[in-house]
């Protein structure tokens, strides 16, 4: 088959040019976080990495990421040694900015490679669709906003995730898929949310015989188990020697944080808080008790732990239970029918469940849903119609991450560009399903997408003109409630597609 244009490499080059131009753009505290980690890993012995707390941004990623920072710091030493001093807080010389921003672009090559693997693994008519999906991930406004402006290394890590998912496509590389995913877990523990799907898939497709569930393939189990043990051993072993595992775990899983993050991530809890807000107004009329303590805190829903005025409070236990339940449902189907498409669907649904019901979810985690979903969004038009509201809601929900006026045109125009381009292209490429589509769902999703325009206009312009600096939570609340509707809607839609296809 002839090559499809534009190729991923061409897109990557032009995107890289754009990203370099964004070097002087706004950067969040995550920039300082990563600078601090460079300093910690470079200047301190291994066993102090997870103990060091000069900066408030302590190392709270698993060890492989710390090793990764250590490797980067070896180059950083040549660029500007001053950035590697732990006490040099908030240091941002232009060399530091260029270096750190540049490492994000370079490590993103892993993503490009993984996407190329994905395209190459598709055959025949779906290759064109695979190329379009891969391009959409590469140019994703989510990655642009989070990695290249806000500052993080998601591109690299999603590259590993995609590579591992592509390796799962062939029986011969299943083992490597599992091991790569284990490596990823040792880099960033947020991917634990997707682990149940991997567990079930590898268990069924690799550890058990394809013919019968009751025949265990011991050699495969041994290979996978041994490999995993080696990977986790390399990551955590050195720290286990000094009994630092509890310390690391307390850094990785800080349960003291609140239900909602600083901005509400567009999940079920955002809708729940929104309901609570409305009930505060309505409660006296319908005679519900209002908790006075919760009313007192002005920053409700903005920072720290959330207490609800009317509705019952949510505990981490409830979140955990709900997440597990909604992850388990799709996994049953995966266990019965362990094909690659179902696997990707299950990974997506695991991402959905944890994003929607998780404790202290950050809105950046929406990529956990969007990126795996993109891989199957073009399977047929039913998938696409579930993907559409997610694409809009997920990216709009990232807007509050960037609040400086200079970046406003970039985030909005880029996202609109991406949405127009890819929703148009996907529409051309997605084949019709052999099942009827839900008519109303399509109409609702069109309506939903249309609503985003006045919403963005209100949040970015009208609100500032009408209210000035007061009621700052209003645009945030509207954005996250709006996005939550989209994410939940697309989740329900995708569940239906997943179980009926």
């Amino acid at each position: 088959m002839a090559e499809i244009y534009p190729s991923l490499a061409q897109c990557a080059i032009v995107a890289a040019a754009f990203k370099i131009l964004l070097f002087p753009a706004y950067k969040s505290t995550d920039f300082e976080v990563h600078r601090n980690w460079l300093a910690i890993t470079n200047s301190l012995p291994l066993w102090e990495w997870y103990l060091e707390k000069t900066s408030e941004w302590t190392l709270d990623y698993p060890p492989f990421f710390a090793y990764f920072e250590w490797v980067l710091s070896q180059v950083a030493k040549l660029v500007d040694p001053a950035m590697l001093r732990v006490y040099n807080l908030e240091y941002d010389s232009w060399q530091t900015i260029y270096f750190q921003r540049f490492t994000v672009i370079i490590t993103e090559l892993l993503l490009v490679h993984a996407l190329q693997m994905f395209v190459d693994s598709s055959r025949g008519a779906s290759k064109r669709a695979a190329q379009a999906a891969a391009t959409s991930i590469l140019l994703s406004p989510g990655l642009l906003i989070i990695d290249h402006i806000h500052f993080q290394y998601n591109g690299c890590m999603y590259g590993i995730l995609i590579a591992s998912m592509v390796l799962a496509r062939k029986r011969s590389t299943l083992l490597w898929s599992g091991l790569l995913f284990a490596t990823l877990l040792c880099m960033k523990h947020i991917y634990l949310y997707l682990a149940p799907a991997y567990f079930v898939f590898l268990l069924r497709a690799y550890c058990l015989s394809p013919k019968s569930v009751f025949r265990i393939q011991f050699l495969n189990c041994l290979k996978l188990g041994g490999g995993m043990a080696a990977i986790f051993g390399t990551a955590f072993g050195p720290f286990a020697l000094k009994d630092q595992i509890p310390q690391i775990l307390s850094r990785l899983f800080p349960f003291s944080r609140g239900l909602c993050h600083a901005y509400w991530a567009p999940n079920v809890w955002a809708m729940y808080s929104f309901m609570d807000r409305i009930l505060i107004i309505l409660a006296p009329r319908i005679g519900l008790p209002v908790s006075a303590g919760a009313l007192q805190s002005v920053t409700r829903g903005l920072v720290g732990d959330t207490s609800f005025a009317v509705l019952p409070d949510i505990t981490p236990r409830i979140c955990f239970a709900l997440t597990l339940i909604f992850q388990a449902i799709p996994l049953v189907k995966l266990f019965i029918q362990p094909t690659w498409d179902i696997f990707v669907g299950a990974v997506t649904l695991c991402g959905y469940a944890s994003f929607l019901f998780g404790w202290h979810v950050h809105e950046k985690a929406i990529l956990l849903v969007i990126i795996p979903f993109s891989l199957v969004a073009l399977k047929d038009r039913r998938y696409l119609s579930a993907f559409r509201p997610l694409a809009v809601a997920g990216h709009v929900s990232l807007f509050p991450l960037l609040f400086t006026p200079a970046e406003f045109p970039i985030k909005t125009v880029y996202t609109v560009f991406w949405l127009v381009l890819f929703l148009m292209v996907f529409d051309h490429l997605a084949p019709a399903s052999n099942r009827a589509r839900f008519f109303l769902f399509d109409r609702f999703s069109t309506l939903y997408i249309t609503v985003s325009i006045p919403l963005i206009v209100y949040c970015s312009l009208v609100h500032g003109i009408v209210f000035g600096k007061s009621y700052e939570f209003l645009p945030l609340m509207f954005t996250s409630s709006y996005s939550a509707i989209g994410v939940v809607g697309s989740w329900v839609g995708f569940m239906v597609v997943y179980f009926t296809s």
Binding site: P6, Q10, L22, F23, A129, A406
Partner: protein, 592 residues
């Protein structure tokens, strides 16, 4: 579960069955080339057959806007460079004086601090921007206290004014021009979209307007609008647009000769059309009057209100800066005299005859010659006369052709050649003026054969060389990164050196001319690359601190002269002005 076969695909919209002339061209092209020959074509490749122009255009406008805005995050000219800062401060200062001072003082106020020296339309534009900005934050344009302000929000506002002005004038003008020009030249819609992106991503304009800071695209936009009106046969509109361009920035004079000659030629050939000529003349004069009318009315109003245009002089009237003999003929106490003073002052400010042959280091003929012969030892009179003669000599050939063959398709070539002539030989050239010849030359991409390798190679060569000669200017304010990224990106998109040499080898043109281009361009690209290496790693010898800049000028002037010659030779060939037998053989030898 195999993917359903494509036959099942039921698009909700019916595909358009309309087959117009343009899409048949696409079909031809598609069958000719299976793979895109340069990356920019690859990016638009999927839109080749199906997508309509109205689906692509918004995307193009968004993406070029994104690149512009991202570049504008970088520093601007004069950033943290006291005492006098740079172009950014000049533009900001004009917003300050036009909004804070009475109209009659605009061209007289404190000329030492970036006095207004652009024509009235710039003043009105500054006034409008200043008024809008003052609503947001009045301190940005407060008189005196705002000088040298580096408020980051002000920067965003200023950048936004450049962006909005460009999207209101330059971009619509270019979009319409490209449509008309490519239709006239029989180029397919898809190909013209590729050319449109190439033109809008031109690095020099982005670097100067959105990074270094100026409003050149407003003036260039009016010129493009004027050219595009010529293509549509609307000569009166073209006169109006051109007056607007001149009224915004006097640099548009580079094109004035060609505009004049084309419009005049259109009235004389194939037969003399006096009414058309009169119409154009009347409209031009009327537009000029409307252009200065606000100033005249403002001055009269100020006189009536008793506002002095030079409050610093305490009532005494300075002599006219130019044409002092006028006083002998005019009544200095008459009501019209303040208007005369204003007009003379504008001319005096806009055309600084008193300055030297060249102000800074510019890659034009004089500056390059200055390396060999020290020109400063000659009297200014002689130099001015020499410059005038050389300029006229260089612009006569293209304009004679345009005069006798006032054809629409020749416009960009004639404009480019004339502007190159002005840039190379005229008096008081600034390095940023290279934008003027580059603009019509880049528009060639939208014409017949515009994206073929030979045209791409030459247009690309001129643009990259143009950016390179502006490097010393950009480097002074630490703009190496946007310079490198934007220039290389454009070279990459169009498949040009240093990213690719594919533009130099094509089937169907003579080996001799191919190797000539390869050799000449190769030499210049090598020189540019080596120059960058030297400039980074080697310090110039202490007795010649300007060595790198001087080398830059020399190479630049030589390269630009080649561009002038190339444009002129193409103009000669395409105008059929030479006897058929002669050009026929030459064209044949080219297509072999």
């Amino acid at each position: 579960m195999a993917a359903p076969s494509p036959a099942l695909h039921k698009p909700r919209r019916k595909a358009k069955r309309v087959c117009n002339g343009a899409s048949s061209f696409v079909a031809v092209e598609e069958s000719l080339s299976r793979t895109p020959s340069f990356p920019l074509a690859a990016f638009l490749w999927p839109a080749r057959s199906s997508a309509s122009e109205w689906e692509i255009l918004p995307l193009i406008l968004m993406i070029v806007g994104l690149f512009r805005w991202a570049s504008s995050l970088w520093g601007y000219s004069g950033f943290q460079k006291p005492p006098i800062f740079g172009d950014y401060e000049a533009q900001r200062h004009w917003m300050e004086i036009t909004t804070q001072l009475p109209v009659s003082q605009w061209y007289f106020h404190d000329l030492q601090w970036w006095g207004l020296d652009y024509p009235p339309l710039t003043a009105y534009h500054s006034w409008l921007c200043g008024k809008i900005g003052s609503i947001i934050d009045p301190t940005w344009f407060a008189l005196y206290t705002s000088r040298g302000s580096h408020d980051p929000t002000l920067k965003i506002f200023m950048r936004a004014t450049v962006m909005v002005s460009e999207y209101l004038i330059y971009i619509p003008a270019v979009v319409i021009f490209v449509r008309r020009f490519s239709r006239l030249s029989g180029v397919a819609t898809w190909t013209s979209s590729v050319a449109l992106v190439a033109i809008l991503m031109q690095p020099a304009t982005i670097l100067i307007d959105h990074v270094h800071f100026q409003y050149n695209t407003v003036m260039l936009g009016f010129v493009v609008a004027s050219m595009s009106s010529m293509l549509a046969g609307r000569n009166l509109w073209s006169a109006i647009f051109f007056v607007a361009a001149l009224g915004f920035k006097q640099m548009a004079l580079y094109y004035a000769f060609s505009v004049f000659v084309y419009l005049l030629g259109g009235c004389l050939f194939p037969r003399i059309n006096i009414s058309r000529l009169l119409g154009i003349a009347v409209i031009t004069v009327a537009s000029f009057v409307i252009l200065v009318l606000p100033l005249i009315v403002g001055t009269l109003y100020d006189v009536k209100a008793g506002v002095d245009y030079r409050p610093d002089l305490g009532g005494s009237r300075p002599p006219l800066p130019l044409f002092p003999q006028l006083v002998g003929y005019l009544d200095t106490e008459a009501f019209y005299y303040p208007i005369v003073e204003q007009m003379v002052q504008i001319v005096h400010r806009v055309f600084p005859f008193a300055r030297g042959l060249f102000e800074d280091k510019v890659a034009n003929f004089w500056c390059a010659l200055n390396v060999v012969i020290k020109l400063r030892k000659y009297p200014t009179e002689l130099l001015q006369r020499g410059a005038l003669l050389a300029t006229v000599a260089s612009i006569i050939p293209p304009n004679l052709i345009l005069f006798f063959r006032p054809r629409k398709l020749l416009l960009p070539l004639a404009f480019a050649t004339t502007a190159w002539g002005f840039f190379l030989f005229s008096y008081q050239v600034h390095e940023k003026s290279v934008l003027l010849p580059l603009m019509p030359m880049t528009l060639l991409l939208a014409g017949n054969q515009g994206l073929t390798k030979s045209v791409r190679a030459w247009v690309g060569f001129a643009n990259i060389l143009g950016c390179w000669t502006m490097f010393p200017l950009l480097q002074r304010v630490d703009l190496r990164v946007p310079y490198t990224v934007l220039t290389l990106l454009w070279a990459y998109l169009l498949g040009l050196p240093p990213t690719s040499f594919s533009a130099y080898f094509q089937e169907g043109s003579s080996l001799w001319s191919q190797w000539f281009t390869v050799f000449v361009h190769g030499f210049f690209y090598l020189a540019m690359a080596l120059w960058h290496v030297f400039e980074i790693f080697l310090k110039p010898p202490p007795e010649k601190p300007d060595l790198w800049v001087v080398l830059n000028i020399g190479v630049g002037a030589a390269g630009f002269s080649l561009c002038y010659l190339w444009c002129l030779s193409r103009l000669v060939l395409e105008s059929d002005i030479l006897p058929k037998s002669w050009t026929g053989s030459r064209i044949k030898s080219k297509t072999q």
